[in-house]
């Protein structure tokens, strides 16, 4: 069964329809790349999945659980949304690290706040804290940041910041980790280190949705590619199908911009 099912999702801002009848599904452990020109609705789609925007129509299911149904207001209760968000992680183009916390604290913060809400927190404070810290260090290690844990974001390069942001998202163990152009804010020589850790996650079968303009990377890392245009899914399939044998004229046009570079 698919871990994520999105059906007929639509979203408008005022009179502009930004997402039109978006449907797709994603298997556990697979990587989906979302490509498409600027303004095609890729960011909006990720924001809908993470409950930063509320779709006007459609259904979102994770592991068979109905997370969002536009026809059922009960799925939109504020308190519930917080819990549902945790099925997804989101890595932003601009990192959005918390500047007043070190790399390690950035990774630990949300987890600690969640732990504080548990009934047994008071009695096991120390152990819980130690465990969260150990896990956070593990994730930072995995991101190649063992020697950067006590640095503040302004002391880190863009690539290091983005890797901290990835560790921060991983720390909550989301079912599906979303990336919104994770390397677009980086100098070209720094994109490689970030793509490398994402590739590492893919190899460990982390379920991911990646919005990217790095076509070679998308092709290499994903098992499924969606090309969006004007708020619609124009074409979807395996990287082979979409990149090698695109059926739609729009897809061909879009891809030719990258191959001619």
């Amino acid at each position: 069964m698919a871990i994520l099912e999105v059906q007929h999702v639509s979203k408008s801002f005022g009179n502009t329809e930004v997402l039109k009848d978006i449907s797709f599904s994603l298997e556990k452990g697979k990587v989906l790349s979302l490509i498409g020109s600027s303004g095609s609705g890729k960011t909006t789609l990720l924001r809908c999945l993470n409950f930063l925007e509320r779709p006007d129509g459609g259904v979102i299911r994770v592991n068979g659980e109905m997370l969002f149904d536009a026809a059922d207001p009960a799925t939109m209760q504020e308190g519930e949304i917080r819990r549902k968000r945790l099925h997804f992680g989101l890595v932003f183009q601009s990192f959005n690290l918390f500047p007043q916390y070190t790399a390690l604290q950035n990774v630990m913060l949300a987890k600690e706040l969640l732990a504080k809400e548990k009934p047994d927190y008071k009695s096991k404070k120390k152990e819980i804290h130690a465990q969260i810290e150990a896990e956070a260090k593990n994730f930072l290690d995995q991101m190649g940041l063992s020697d950067r844990m006590d640095n503040y974001p302004h002391q880190l390069s863009g690539g290091q910041c983005q890797r901290v942001a990835i560790a921060r998202a991983l720390a909550l163990k989301p079912d599906i980790l979303c990336f919104d152009e994770p390397t677009s804010a980086l100098d070209p020589e720094l994109t490689g280190e970030v793509l490398k850790v994402i590739k590492g996650l893919a190899d460990q079968e982390t379920t991911m949705i990646i919005v990217t303009h790095e076509m070679a990377f998308a092709r290499d890392v994903s098992s499924q590619v969606i090309f969006m245009d004007g708020g619609c899914i124009m074409e979807q399939g395996t990287p082979e199908e979409v990149f090698e044998h695109p059926k739609e004229e729009r897809t061909k046009q879009f891809l030719s911009r990258f191959t001619n570079q």
């Binding site: 945790l86 989101l90 706040l113 503040y152 921060r168 909550l172």
Partner: protein, 226 residues
């Protein structure tokens, strides 16, 4: 009277006056810091009539001299047939406090607004996708960033406030300038000297010096992040 005889008498009178200055200063801060926050929330409210009215009030208060506001606050009630302040120094102090708190709260509210809106929306969004509540995001993520942003402009306002307290002289509040001036007309056997009035500047200078150091330290403390 010799200068050396005058000096201790004058200093004692100025000390008493400066105590009143300090009182007005601290009462203003104590009132204006929270009131400013309420006003800033009002001006940022999504409820249009509220934000409109708040903005008008802030515009009026910031657009007119504090001295006029002091006069209006002090004399208006009496002119309308109900002198709520009563006579005496305590009445004048109360009236001055009200005018100062209101005036400074309006200035502070604009600083707060800048500080609150200056925190990028991405900070809140990052918190939300990590499953934090809005309250957690405010206290754990945004508050310190706001404080860092507002400390420098607040420092400026606070140092201006020290000097602005002298405006309360207009309603005869017995602060340090009033005390210095009293030796011109004649007070405690000293009359016709102007140096005590000049000497009040030393009080302001020393107090502002201390404040500058303290606020500078706070600013330094927050420099560990950007």
């Amino acid at each position: 009277m010799e200068f050396s005889e005058q000096f201790p008498i004058v200093v004692q009178a100025l000390n008493v006056g400066f105590l009143q200055t300090l009182k007005l200063f601290f009462v203003t801060l104590l009132g204006a810091i929270p009131l400013g926050l309420i006003i800033s929330f009002g001006s940022m409210s999504r409820f249009k009539p509220l934000s409109f009215i708040t903005k008008i009030i802030v515009w009026i208060i910031r657009g007119t001299p504090l001295m006029i506001q002091l006069l209006i606050v002090y004399f208006m009630p009496g002119l309308m047939g109900n002198n709520i302040w009563g006579g005496g120094e305590s009445g004048r102090f109360l009236a001055a406090s009200v005018a100062f708190i209101f005036n400074y709260a309006c200035y502070f509210s604009e600083i707060y607004r800048g500080g609150i809106q200056g925190v990028p929306a991405g900070q809140e969004e990052a918190g939300l996708v990590l499953g934090m509540t809005k309250t957690q995001i405010f206290f754990k993520v945004k508050l310190l960033q706001m404080i860092k942003r507002i400390v420098p402009p607040m420092s400026n306002e606070i140092i201006t406030l020290v000097k602005d307290t002298s405006l309360s002289r207009i309603i005869a509040l017995q602060e340090v300038i009033w005390a210095g001036q009293s030796f011109m007309k004649g007070n405690m056997g000293i009359a016709g000297v102007i140096w005590p009035l000049f000497f009040t500047a030393v009080y302001y200078l020393i107090f502002n010096g201390i404040l500058t150091v303290l606020l500078g330290r706070l600013e330094k403390k927050l420099e560990y992040f950007r």
